[in-house]
Amino acid sequence: MGFAEEKPIYLQISEKIEDAILSGAFEENTQIPSTTEISVNYKINPATALKGISLLVEEGIVYKKRGLGMFVAPGAKERIEKKRRNNFYDSYVRTLVSEAKKLGLNKKDLLEQIERGFDDE
């Protein structure tokens, strides 16, 4: 099922949808799976799926077309990127630095690792 224990399921649902939008799997103004489809697929209560989608509606990432379903909002991709860039430090950098410190790597070592990461691309 693929649910890690760190985050509430509704958050994981909204993040999965955001990932799909970022990767281009869901394009702007196209329909995303319905609450029912999502809940059946992940075997979760529809209320949970709805909570995840409501979160995206609040952030202006998806919108509701009456009688049809939920659609990707225009500019959603940019909005997600901006949000994630703002949270990048909290989501990744802090953990990275703390892990590096645990292993005894100093700033210079860490920067070398990061450069290696970009070179390897």
């Binding site: 224990e5 509430p8 029912t36």
Partner: protein, 281 residues
């Protein structure tokens, strides 16, 4: 929007107090998880709701009407019990057509399509079904009966992993379109955890917990790490229980985890862990 109201229900069998002063409410549009250890009183509660047992005191009403000896109220409820209450020599297809006679909203076509999906031979006699297929037969009727309230007592008993997954999908699809009330009594807490939106924990015949699933799981957390760090962090906090492995410890708290020091990881509260901790003592 239908509602079952249970007030101050007590039931004793000889010297054993099966249920003591139980009060609950069940509404359409929710999937309830009725959790409890063996012998906690879950099956007794389900049997009382369907009028198969008589309470010693207390009352159960469906949309305001008492449920005892009341055909109209009883037709709003279907309970999938342990064991088969159908005649052994009856065939599956006949059981389905008789169910349609007694439950006016029974979906015959839906039931037959479920039989195909689960690979259940409609022409087989009920007495000849294996444990797993007896469960499948019962849950097909439960899903198709169209009643406002569907009570499922250990629905996946004997089902293989594929059929369990199929059942959960069908359950959610059915719930999503009908918004009827499902009450799921099960021991498989991990599997049920994502499906249910209200948790009821029964312990020794009383209600230990009756909460919205998301609320209760979000109001708690799991803190893991070196044992001494964890012990220091949980000082003065609402601790439900903990697990220890060598020098590592996981503590389960009934309050949000904030300002967690480095070296400790935070996770969501796991329903099964919560259940075990609450019902162990």
């Amino acid at each position: 929007m239908s509602r079952i109201e249970i007030s101050h229900l007590t039931k004793t069998f000889g010297k054993t107090k099966a249920l003591t002063d139980v009060s609950l409410e069940f509404e359409s549009g929710h999937i309830y998880g009725l959790l409890g250890r063996n012998g906690a009183g879950k099956t007794t509660l389900l049997n009382l709701i369907t009028g198969r047992l008589f309470p010693d005191s207390g009352e159960i009403t469906v949309d305001g009407e008492p449920v005892l000896e009341n055909d109209r109220a009883l037709s709003k409820i279907y309970c999938m019990t342990e064991g088969s209450k159908y005649p052994d020599r009856m065939r599956v297809v006949d059981a389905l057509s008789w169910s349609a006679e007694f439950y006016p909203n029974f979906g015959g076509k839906y039931a037959r399509s479920l039989c195909k999906k689960f690979d259940l031979n409609e022409f087989q006699k009920i007495g000849g079904l294996s444990t797993g297929y007896t469960s499948i037969f019962k849950l097909i009727i439960a899903l198709a009966c169209g009643s406002e309230f569907v009570l499922l007592d250990e629905p996946v008993l004997g089902l293989d992993a594929n059929h369990r997954e199929l059942f959960y999908r069908e359950l959610i699809e059915n719930f999503s379109s009908s918004q009827r009330c499902f009450i799921l009594s099960t021991h498989l807490i991990e599997e049920a955890a994502t499906l249910i939106d209200r948790i009821i924990i029964v312990k020794n015949g009383t209600i230990l917990l009756n909460e919205d699933a998301q609320d209760i799981l979000e109001s708690g957390c799991t803190v893991s790490g070196p044992a001494d760090l964890v012990d220091r962090y949980v000082q003065g906090k609402k601790l439900i229980g903990s697990d220890k492995l060598g020098g590592l410890k996981s503590a389960y708290l009934m309050e949000p985890c904030t300002h967690v020091p480095d070296g400790l990881t935070v996770g969501t509260l796991d329903l099964q862990k919560l259940f075990i901790q609450l019902t162990n003592a």
